[in-house]
Protein backbone atom coordinates (compact mmCIF):
# COMPACT_ATOMS: atom_id res chain seq x y z
CA UNK A 1 0.00 0.00 0.00
CA UNK A 2 1.24 3.49 -0.91
CA UNK A 3 0.70 6.18 1.69
CA UNK A 4 0.28 9.90 1.16
CA UNK A 5 2.87 11.41 3.49
CA UNK A 6 0.79 14.56 4.06
CA UNK A 7 -2.10 12.64 5.64
CA UNK A 8 -1.79 10.89 9.02
CA UNK A 9 -0.96 7.23 8.42
CA UNK A 10 -3.48 5.99 11.02
CA UNK A 11 -6.23 7.75 9.05
CA UNK A 12 -5.13 6.11 5.79
CA UNK A 13 -5.06 2.68 7.45
CA UNK A 14 -8.65 3.23 8.63
CA UNK A 15 -9.70 4.11 5.08
CA UNK A 16 -7.92 0.99 3.83
CA UNK A 17 -9.78 -1.23 6.30
CA UNK A 18 -13.14 0.43 5.48
CA UNK A 19 -12.53 -0.37 1.84
CA UNK A 20 -11.49 -3.97 2.55
CA UNK A 21 -14.81 -4.39 4.40
CA UNK A 22 -16.91 -2.71 1.70
CA UNK A 23 -15.48 -4.83 -1.11
CA UNK A 24 -15.81 -7.93 1.08
CA UNK A 25 -12.12 -8.75 1.34
CA UNK A 26 -12.87 -8.60 5.05
CA UNK A 27 -16.30 -10.18 5.50
CA UNK A 28 -18.65 -9.47 8.45
CA UNK A 29 -17.56 -11.48 11.49
CA UNK A 30 -14.13 -12.31 10.08
CA UNK A 31 -10.93 -11.83 12.02
CA UNK A 32 -8.65 -8.89 11.26
CA UNK A 33 -4.92 -9.79 11.08
CA UNK A 34 -2.92 -9.26 14.29
CA UNK A 35 -1.47 -5.81 14.94
CA UNK A 36 2.16 -6.71 14.21
CA UNK A 37 1.18 -8.61 11.07
CA UNK A 38 -0.76 -5.60 9.79
CA UNK A 39 2.20 -3.35 10.63
CA UNK A 40 4.50 -5.65 8.64
CA UNK A 41 2.09 -5.92 5.69
CA UNK A 42 1.69 -2.15 5.49
CA UNK A 43 5.32 -1.37 6.53
CA UNK A 44 4.24 1.00 9.28
CA UNK A 45 4.73 1.42 13.01
CA UNK A 46 2.86 -0.93 15.37
CA UNK A 47 1.64 2.10 17.40
CA UNK A 48 0.06 3.57 14.26
CA UNK A 49 -1.85 0.36 13.53
CA UNK A 50 -2.97 0.22 17.16
CA UNK A 51 -4.36 3.73 16.94
CA UNK A 52 -6.32 2.87 13.76
CA UNK A 53 -7.75 -0.28 15.31
CA UNK A 54 -8.63 1.54 18.53
CA UNK A 55 -10.66 4.09 16.58
CA UNK A 56 -12.32 1.42 14.43
CA UNK A 57 -13.32 -0.40 17.62
CA UNK A 58 -14.76 2.75 19.18
CA UNK A 59 -16.72 3.38 15.96
CA UNK A 60 -18.13 -0.15 16.26
CA UNK A 61 -16.74 -1.20 12.86
CA UNK A 62 -14.49 -3.73 14.59
CA UNK A 63 -15.27 -5.67 17.73
CA UNK A 64 -12.50 -6.67 20.07
CA UNK A 65 -12.79 -10.10 21.71
CA UNK A 66 -10.48 -10.44 24.66
CA UNK A 67 -7.62 -12.81 23.94
CA UNK A 68 -8.97 -13.68 20.49
CA UNK A 69 -8.34 -10.57 18.43
CA UNK A 70 -10.42 -8.09 16.46
CA UNK A 71 -13.38 -9.01 14.28
CA UNK A 72 -15.40 -7.17 11.65
CA UNK A 73 -18.82 -6.26 13.03
CA UNK A 74 -21.86 -8.23 11.91
CA UNK A 75 -24.18 -5.34 12.77
CA UNK A 76 -25.99 -4.55 9.46
CA UNK A 77 -26.74 -0.98 10.48
CA UNK A 78 -23.07 -0.14 11.04
CA UNK A 79 -22.05 -1.88 7.82
CA UNK A 80 -24.69 -0.02 5.79
CA UNK A 81 -23.69 3.30 7.30
CA UNK A 82 -20.05 2.56 6.55
CA UNK A 83 -20.83 2.03 2.89
CA UNK A 84 -23.07 5.09 2.81
CA UNK A 85 -20.46 7.31 4.45
CA UNK A 86 -17.65 6.27 2.12
CA UNK A 87 -19.78 6.89 -0.97
CA UNK A 88 -20.97 10.19 0.46
CA UNK A 89 -17.41 11.30 1.11
CA UNK A 90 -16.50 10.79 -2.55
CA UNK A 91 -19.67 12.55 -3.72
CA UNK A 92 -19.00 15.48 -1.44
CA UNK A 93 -15.52 15.93 -2.95
CA UNK A 94 -17.05 15.85 -6.42
CA UNK A 95 -19.82 18.26 -5.43
CA UNK A 96 -17.29 20.78 -4.11
CA UNK A 97 -15.17 20.52 -7.24
CA UNK A 98 -18.14 21.01 -9.55
CA UNK A 99 -19.55 23.82 -7.40
CA UNK A 100 -16.20 25.60 -7.65
CA UNK A 101 -16.69 25.43 -11.44
CA UNK A 102 -20.01 27.22 -10.85
CA UNK A 103 -22.27 24.34 -11.90
CA UNK A 104 -25.79 24.49 -10.48
CA UNK A 105 -27.14 21.37 -8.70
CA UNK A 106 -29.35 20.59 -11.72
CA UNK A 107 -26.40 20.89 -14.07
CA UNK A 108 -24.43 18.55 -11.82
CA UNK A 109 -27.14 15.89 -11.98
CA UNK A 110 -27.37 16.22 -15.73
CA UNK A 111 -23.59 16.05 -16.16
CA UNK A 112 -23.32 13.04 -13.86
CA UNK A 113 -26.15 11.18 -15.63
CA UNK A 114 -24.58 11.80 -19.03
CA UNK A 115 -21.19 10.73 -17.78
CA UNK A 116 -22.48 7.52 -16.19
CA UNK A 117 -24.30 6.64 -19.42
CA UNK A 118 -21.16 7.26 -21.42
CA UNK A 119 -19.13 4.98 -19.11
CA UNK A 120 -21.83 2.29 -19.34
CA UNK A 121 -21.63 2.36 -23.15
CA UNK A 122 -17.83 2.11 -23.28
CA UNK A 123 -18.02 -0.68 -20.72
CA UNK A 124 -20.51 -2.71 -22.76
CA UNK A 125 -19.27 -1.66 -26.19
Amino acid sequence: MKFDDKIPIYYQIKQYIYKEIIINHLTPGSKVPAVRQLALDLAVNVNTVQRSLRELISEGVLESQRGKGNFVTTNPEILNNLRKNIVEEQLSLMYDHLASLQLTPDEMIQALTEYVNKRKETHHG
Binding site: F3, D5, K6, I7, P8, I9, Y10, Y11, R36, A39, L40, A43, V44, N45, V46, N47, T48
Partner: protein, 234 residues
Amino acid sequence: MANLLTINHLSYSRNLQLILKDLNLELPYGQIVGLLGTNGAGKTTLMRLIAGNYIDRKNSISINTETNSAVRKSLVSFTEQVGGWSGHPRIFKIGNFYDALYEDFNLTTFNQLLSNLNLSPDQRVNQLSKGNFRKLVIAVTLARQTDLYLLDEPFDGIDSMTRKKIISSIIQWKPENATVLVSDHHVGDIANLLDQVVIIKDQHVAAQEAADTIRETLGKDIETYYEDFYREEL
Protein backbone atom coordinates in the same frame (compact mmCIF):
# COMPACT_ATOMS: atom_id res chain seq x y z
CA MET B 1 5.35 5.95 32.86
CA ALA B 2 8.65 7.77 33.33
CA ASN B 3 10.76 8.57 30.30
CA LEU B 4 13.20 6.04 28.91
CA LEU B 5 15.79 8.67 28.01
CA THR B 6 16.29 12.07 29.61
CA ILE B 7 19.00 14.52 28.56
CA ASN B 8 19.40 17.74 30.54
CA HIS B 9 21.65 20.60 29.44
CA LEU B 10 24.13 18.47 27.54
CA SER B 11 27.12 20.25 26.03
CA TYR B 12 29.98 18.52 24.29
CA SER B 13 33.20 19.70 22.66
CA ARG B 14 35.76 17.78 20.72
CA ASN B 15 39.13 19.18 19.65
CA LEU B 16 38.15 22.57 21.09
CA GLN B 17 35.10 22.65 18.84
CA LEU B 18 31.64 22.87 20.38
CA ILE B 19 29.45 20.17 18.81
CA LEU B 20 26.44 20.13 21.12
CA LYS B 21 25.35 23.00 23.29
CA ASP B 22 22.75 22.93 26.07
CA LEU B 23 20.85 20.08 24.45
CA ASN B 24 17.65 18.82 26.11
CA LEU B 25 15.69 15.75 25.05
CA GLU B 26 13.18 13.33 26.51
CA LEU B 27 12.12 10.09 24.84
CA PRO B 28 9.31 7.82 26.04
CA TYR B 29 9.23 4.02 25.94
CA GLY B 30 7.84 2.12 22.98
CA GLN B 31 8.37 4.50 20.07
CA ILE B 32 10.26 4.80 16.81
CA VAL B 33 11.88 8.23 16.66
CA GLY B 34 13.61 9.84 13.70
CA LEU B 35 16.74 11.86 14.47
CA LEU B 36 17.14 14.37 11.67
CA GLY B 37 19.81 16.90 10.86
CA THR B 38 22.29 17.80 8.14
CA ASN B 39 25.70 16.17 7.86
CA GLY B 40 27.81 17.42 10.72
CA ALA B 41 24.84 18.52 12.83
CA GLY B 42 25.95 16.18 15.60
CA LYS B 43 23.57 13.22 15.22
CA THR B 44 26.30 10.60 15.50
CA THR B 45 27.99 12.47 18.35
CA LEU B 46 24.70 12.52 20.24
CA MET B 47 24.24 8.78 19.73
CA ARG B 48 27.79 8.08 20.90
CA LEU B 49 27.14 10.14 24.02
CA ILE B 50 23.85 8.35 24.73
CA ALA B 51 25.52 4.97 24.22
CA GLY B 52 28.38 5.89 26.53
CA ASN B 53 31.03 5.65 23.80
CA TYR B 54 31.83 9.30 24.44
CA ILE B 55 32.02 10.45 28.02
CA ASP B 56 29.55 13.02 29.24
CA ARG B 57 31.37 14.41 32.27
CA LYS B 58 28.39 16.18 33.78
CA ASN B 59 26.12 13.13 33.81
CA SER B 60 23.50 14.96 31.77
CA ILE B 61 22.16 11.76 30.23
CA SER B 62 20.03 9.16 31.97
CA ILE B 63 18.48 5.95 30.69
CA ASN B 64 16.02 4.35 33.10
CA THR B 65 17.44 6.89 35.59
CA GLU B 66 20.93 5.40 35.07
CA THR B 67 23.57 8.09 34.41
CA ASN B 68 26.78 6.07 34.69
CA SER B 69 28.16 5.78 31.14
CA ALA B 70 29.60 2.29 31.65
CA VAL B 71 26.24 0.98 32.84
CA ARG B 72 24.46 2.87 30.06
CA LYS B 73 26.60 1.06 27.51
CA SER B 74 24.98 -2.20 28.55
CA LEU B 75 21.47 -0.75 28.25
CA VAL B 76 21.82 0.52 24.69
CA SER B 77 22.14 -1.42 21.47
CA PHE B 78 23.99 0.84 19.03
CA THR B 79 24.82 0.04 15.41
CA GLU B 80 28.26 1.57 15.86
CA GLN B 81 29.16 -0.93 18.58
CA VAL B 82 29.10 -3.66 15.94
CA GLY B 83 32.55 -4.48 14.59
CA GLY B 84 36.06 -4.77 15.92
CA TRP B 85 36.32 -8.55 15.67
CA SER B 86 39.67 -9.93 14.54
CA GLY B 87 40.32 -11.62 11.21
CA HIS B 88 37.56 -12.49 8.75
CA PRO B 89 35.09 -14.56 10.75
CA ARG B 90 32.02 -16.25 9.32
CA ILE B 91 28.70 -14.72 10.33
CA PHE B 92 27.80 -17.52 12.76
CA LYS B 93 31.09 -16.92 14.61
CA ILE B 94 30.08 -13.29 15.00
CA GLY B 95 26.79 -14.45 16.51
CA ASN B 96 28.73 -16.55 19.04
CA PHE B 97 31.04 -13.60 19.76
CA TYR B 98 28.14 -11.27 20.67
CA ASP B 99 26.32 -14.04 22.48
CA ALA B 100 29.32 -14.26 24.81
CA LEU B 101 29.78 -10.48 25.01
CA TYR B 102 26.22 -9.36 25.83
CA GLU B 103 23.97 -10.97 28.37
CA ASP B 104 20.89 -9.69 26.49
CA PHE B 105 21.98 -11.09 23.12
CA ASN B 106 19.52 -13.68 21.79
CA LEU B 107 21.13 -16.15 19.39
CA THR B 108 17.79 -17.56 18.23
CA THR B 109 16.55 -14.09 17.33
CA PHE B 110 19.86 -13.40 15.58
CA ASN B 111 19.49 -16.50 13.40
CA GLN B 112 15.89 -15.60 12.55
CA LEU B 113 17.00 -12.09 11.62
CA LEU B 114 19.73 -13.52 9.37
CA SER B 115 17.23 -15.66 7.55
CA ASN B 116 14.73 -12.78 7.22
CA LEU B 117 17.47 -10.61 5.78
CA ASN B 118 18.70 -13.40 3.44
CA LEU B 119 22.13 -13.67 5.04
CA SER B 120 23.87 -17.03 5.27
CA PRO B 121 25.61 -17.89 8.58
CA ASP B 122 28.51 -19.35 6.58
CA GLN B 123 29.39 -16.15 4.74
CA ARG B 124 32.59 -14.40 5.79
CA VAL B 125 32.26 -10.74 6.81
CA ASN B 126 34.96 -9.49 4.47
CA GLN B 127 33.08 -10.98 1.52
CA LEU B 128 29.84 -9.14 2.22
CA SER B 129 28.64 -6.35 -0.05
CA LYS B 130 27.99 -2.96 1.53
CA GLY B 131 24.23 -3.64 1.72
CA ASN B 132 24.73 -7.09 3.23
CA PHE B 133 27.16 -5.72 5.79
CA ARG B 134 24.51 -3.17 6.81
CA LYS B 135 22.03 -6.00 7.19
CA LEU B 136 24.46 -7.88 9.43
CA VAL B 137 24.90 -4.78 11.61
CA ILE B 138 21.11 -4.50 11.94
CA ALA B 139 20.81 -8.21 12.80
CA VAL B 140 23.42 -7.91 15.57
CA THR B 141 21.87 -4.68 16.90
CA LEU B 142 18.29 -5.99 16.98
CA ALA B 143 19.26 -9.41 18.37
CA ARG B 144 19.93 -7.76 21.72
CA GLN B 145 16.84 -7.50 23.93
CA THR B 146 17.05 -4.05 25.42
CA ASP B 147 15.09 -0.83 25.88
CA LEU B 148 16.93 1.55 23.59
CA TYR B 149 18.23 0.93 20.07
CA LEU B 150 20.32 3.52 18.27
CA LEU B 151 20.48 3.06 14.51
CA ASP B 152 22.90 5.48 12.90
CA GLU B 153 22.11 6.02 9.21
CA PRO B 154 21.11 2.38 8.65
CA PHE B 155 19.90 3.12 5.11
CA ASP B 156 22.95 5.00 3.92
CA GLY B 157 23.97 3.84 0.46
CA ILE B 158 21.74 0.79 0.20
CA ASP B 159 19.13 -0.17 -2.40
CA SER B 160 15.37 0.06 -1.86
CA MET B 161 14.82 -3.71 -1.55
CA THR B 162 17.40 -3.95 1.23
CA ARG B 163 15.85 -0.91 2.88
CA LYS B 164 12.44 -2.61 2.89
CA LYS B 165 13.94 -5.72 4.48
CA ILE B 166 15.59 -3.67 7.21
CA ILE B 167 12.36 -1.76 7.88
CA SER B 168 10.45 -5.07 8.19
CA SER B 169 13.06 -6.33 10.64
CA ILE B 170 12.64 -3.25 12.80
CA ILE B 171 8.83 -3.63 12.82
CA GLN B 172 9.03 -7.33 13.54
CA TRP B 173 11.78 -7.46 16.17
CA LYS B 174 11.46 -4.26 18.18
CA PRO B 175 10.28 -5.27 21.68
CA GLU B 176 6.96 -3.57 22.45
CA ASN B 177 8.34 -1.30 25.18
CA ALA B 178 11.62 -0.51 23.49
CA THR B 179 12.36 2.73 21.71
CA VAL B 180 14.34 2.97 18.48
CA LEU B 181 16.17 6.18 17.65
CA VAL B 182 17.09 6.16 13.97
CA SER B 183 19.08 8.86 12.21
CA ASP B 184 18.70 9.52 8.53
CA HIS B 185 19.17 12.39 6.14
CA HIS B 186 16.60 11.07 3.66
CA VAL B 187 13.51 11.33 5.83
CA GLY B 188 11.33 9.92 3.09
CA ASP B 189 12.90 6.48 3.64
CA ILE B 190 11.37 6.07 7.06
CA ALA B 191 8.56 8.63 7.25
CA ASN B 192 5.83 5.96 7.55
CA LEU B 193 7.64 4.31 10.41
CA LEU B 194 8.02 7.23 12.79
CA ASP B 195 6.05 8.16 15.89
CA GLN B 196 7.92 11.44 16.17
CA VAL B 197 10.91 13.34 14.85
CA VAL B 198 13.72 15.17 16.60
CA ILE B 199 15.58 17.82 14.61
CA ILE B 200 19.16 18.71 15.55
CA LYS B 201 20.25 22.12 14.37
CA ASP B 202 22.58 24.80 15.76
CA GLN B 203 24.03 22.31 18.26
CA HIS B 204 20.76 21.59 20.04
CA VAL B 205 17.29 20.08 19.60
CA ALA B 206 15.59 22.65 17.38
CA ALA B 207 12.29 20.75 17.29
CA GLN B 208 10.59 17.62 18.55
CA GLU B 209 7.18 16.84 17.09
CA ALA B 210 4.80 13.90 16.67
CA ALA B 211 4.46 12.66 13.09
CA ASP B 212 0.65 12.82 13.29
CA THR B 213 0.77 16.44 14.50
CA ILE B 214 3.01 17.40 11.58
CA ARG B 215 0.56 15.85 9.11
CA GLU B 216 -2.73 16.63 10.84
CA THR B 217 -2.17 20.04 12.39
CA LEU B 218 0.50 21.52 10.17
CA GLY B 219 -0.67 19.75 7.01
CA LYS B 220 2.89 18.97 5.94
CA ASP B 221 4.76 15.83 5.09
CA ILE B 222 7.71 15.15 7.38
CA GLU B 223 10.29 15.89 4.70
CA THR B 224 8.86 19.36 4.05
CA TYR B 225 8.59 20.03 7.78
CA TYR B 226 12.27 19.14 8.16
CA GLU B 227 13.41 21.13 5.14
CA ASP B 228 11.47 24.20 6.27
CA PHE B 229 13.85 24.49 9.21
CA TYR B 230 16.62 25.18 6.75
CA ARG B 231 14.65 27.12 4.16
CA GLU B 232 13.96 29.91 6.62
CA GLU B 233 17.58 30.91 6.66
CA LEU B 234 18.19 30.85 2.91
